[in-house]
């Protein structure tokens, strides 16, 4: 029971006697006390109620605060979880980004390597293209050369077969048809060096007339005396045989070393031919009104034939400044087992007879000559007469060209110590048979040479031409 209830119970107790003043006073005191107590009790109750209310409010506030705290803590935990998640993702992203950067770097490095490979391959491709183009060009060139060789081969083969059948006209036509193809192919193949006429052309003699060059040579399948012509000494055309017939005293197949001189309006062809009676080589002369021929020889005997010396060969006419005609030649004493010698003889003004007896200019007396001197050719320079000649055996690489220095066309001549002016060099082997001619006022020589390893009969000797000058020490220089 609360305090106010106890007070109310005590107030309701009934009185036992009549109240005295004292009783009245005590009663008043009691009543006052009761009222005071009641008031106090009420106050106390009020205070208690107030305090209870405050306590309840505080409790509720505390509970609310706790509840809010719980919420806050929950949110805190959630926030922490979220932060941790974000942090985790962040770290993962950083790792991924680093990996991506590394991969990017790797990819860039690999790309650089690939680009370097590409550059190298591109360079290689360009090189391969160049090579392929070069090979393609070689292919085309070789195809053309194969065609040219085949054509040339068939022409020569036809000419040979025609020759076997004694049909030289057909053979000549075959050669004339293919000669330019042969020359072009040989040039392309680098065969023959500077020589531009492709067929056999031994003991060549070249002259210049009215803007053309005429070349004559020893007999071949193309005839007794071959004639070729050229506008420039580079491109030659095969004309054919300019010696239509031989004199009755001569036999065929041995017409060598032709040489031509112009006397007045006539052209004289000096050549070597075999004498039927003796079987020796002798010198004869044929005449024509044109350098193209045909040359005719109506002689009844050789012009020169030193039978006691084994015959005479390699005639070469020389006209001095006074217009006097000389003929230089070789006595073929080798066939008699003696050393060969070179001779000079003045001719009659018509060039068809001897104006004096032959005079010996020199003999084979040098080691390099090997007992052979032949193919003389004379020219004049500043009052001196030079005689070019060949020495050694014609079918060997040792064959070469030397010179003499003479005071007149009939000697006397001196043979310098080292007098070889043209010997084997490059692909030209055994150069000899030199003859002198003028090219645009300059002195040149024509000569023949074997080619590379193809030396000796029945290989071909090819035509070459070169300028000849006199050096300051008085020595001819060819080339």
């Amino acid at each position: 029971m609360t305090a106010p209830a106890q007070v109310r119970a005590r107030v309701k107790t009934p009185p036992s006697r009549m109240p005295t003043p004292a009783d009245q006073s005590r009663r008043t005191v009691r009543r006052s006390s009761f009222v005071i107590a009641l008031v106090v009790a009420l106050l106390a109750g009020g205070v208690l109620a107030l305090q209870r209310s405050e306590a309840i409010a505080a409790t509720e506030a505390a509970d609310a605060a706790v509840a809010r705290e719980h919420v806050t803590v929950a949110r805190l935990a959630a926030t922490e979880d979220a932060r941790a998640t974000v942090q985790s993702h962040l770290e993962a992203m950083v790792v991924a980004a680093a990996a991506a950067v590394a991969d990017t770097s790797t990819a860039a490095s690999q790309r650089s390597q690939l680009l370097a490979q590409l550059d190298a391959t591109t360079i290689a491709i360009n090189g391969l293209r160049d090579e392929l183009a070069a090979v393609g060009q070689t292919d085309a060139n070789q195809n053309a050369n194969l065609d040219g060789l085949e054509t040339c081969l068939q022409g020569i083969r036809t000419a040979s077969l025609a020759g076997m059948s004694d049909n030289r006209g057909t053979g000549m036509q075959a050669l004339q048809t293919v000669q330019s193809v042969c020359a072009q192919t040989f040039r392309a193949l680098g065969v023959g060096g500077s020589s531009s006429f492709v067929f056999d052309f031994a003991d060549p003699f070249v002259l210049s007339h009215e803007g053309s060059y005429f070349g004559y040579a020893t007999n071949s399948g193309a005839g007794r005396v071959q004639l070729i012509t050229s506008p420039d000494l580079e491109s030659w055309s095969l004309v054919g045989d300019v010696l239509a017939d031989l004199p009755a005293w001569a036999v065929d197949n041995y017409t060598w070393a032709p040489a031509v001189a112009k006397l007045g309006d006539r052209w004289l062809l000096y050549y070597t031919v075999r004498e039927r009676a003796s079987g020796l080589q002798c010198i004869s002369a044929a005449v024509a009104t044109s350098p193209r021929g045909p040359f005719t020889d109506g002689s009844s005997e050789p012009l020169v034939c030193q039978r006691s010396l084994g015959g005479s060969i390699d005639p070469s006419p020389f006209i001095d400044d006074d217009g006097r005609l000389f003929l230089l030649f070789k006595s073929d004493a080798v066939v008699r087992g003696r050393a060969a010698s070179l001779w000079s003889v003045p001719l009659t003004p018509d060039g068809r007879g001897l104006g004096w007896f032959p005079i010996e200019l020199t003999r084979a007396d040098r080691g390099w000559e090997n007992r052979v001197v032949e193919g003389p050719a004379m020219f004049e320079d500043d009052g001196r007469f030079y005689l070019l000649y060949s020495g050694n055996h014609w079918g060997t690489p040792a064959y070469a060209t030397g010179y003499l220095s003479c005071t007149t066309p009939i000697g006397p001549c001196t043979k310098p110590g080292d007098n070889v002016v043209l010997a084997t060099h490059g692909t030209q082997v055994g150069p000899g048979g030199a003859e002198v001619f003028l090219r645009d006022g300059q002195r040149w020589v024509s000569y023949h040479a074997w080619e590379g390893d193809d030396v000796g009969y029945p290989n071909k000797r090819r035509l070459h031409t070169a300028p000849v000058t006199i050096t300051t020490d008085g020595r001819p220089a060819i080339g």
């Binding site: 505390a62 991506a100 990819a107 790309r111 392929l132 070689t138 292919d139 009969y457 029945p458 071909k460």
Partner: protein, 172 residues
């Protein structure tokens, strides 16, 4: 009685005061704890925001890095493709060069053979100059025998179609 009531009232008031104080203290404690929790929450929230910002930056960087990587990979693949194409073109050219080179070598062999044949024919022709028919016949027979394979080659060559054109290599 009054004293009793007073004592009781005092007791009750004291008890109530104590209870109120206790509750008040508890409320204060709760509020303090709440404040601390709120402070922590604020800090964590700030930290979370910071982390989110960092995350966004990292994500941006990652995206950029991935984009770079993608571009790099594409470029690398393109380079690889070009390099491969160039290599194939080079192989093709090399093969063609080899074939053509072999063809040229074969041509050269036949050229030499034909040249030898031609020289033999020339020797036959030259021998006729001195009416040496024996030599001429021998050389002609030599020509026919040695030229047989070259003649066959020339015939086969004329029947061979032209070489295929070279493919164009891819160059960057």
């Amino acid at each position: 009685m009054l004293r009793l009531v007073a004592v009781l009232c005092l007791f009750a008031a004291g008890y109530a005061r104590t209870q109120a104080d206790a509750q008040d203290s508890r409320r204060h404690d709760a509020e303090r704890v709440e404040t601390i929790a709120r402070t922590n929450l604020t800090q964590r929230t700030t930290s979370l925001h910071q982390a989110k910002q960092n995350g966004a930056a990292a994500l941006s960087s990652l995206d950029a890095a991935r984009a770079d990587l993608e571009r790099g990979v594409v470029a690398r693949e393109m380079a690889a493709t070009q390099a491969e194409q160039a290599r194939r073109a080079a192989d093709t050219l090399q093969s063609e060069l080899t074939n053509n080179g072999l063809k040229v070598i074969e041509q050269g062999v036949h050229l030499n053979e034909l040249l030898l044949c031609l020289k033999a024919a020339e020797r036959a022709y030259n021998a006729l100059a001195v009416d040496d028919r024996a030599t001429a016949g021998r050389e002609l027979r030599s020509t026919d025998a040695e030229c047989k394979s070259s003649s066959a080659y020339l015939v086969s060559r004329s029947a061979t179609p032209p070489t295929a054109t070279t493919p164009t290599a891819v160059v960057p």
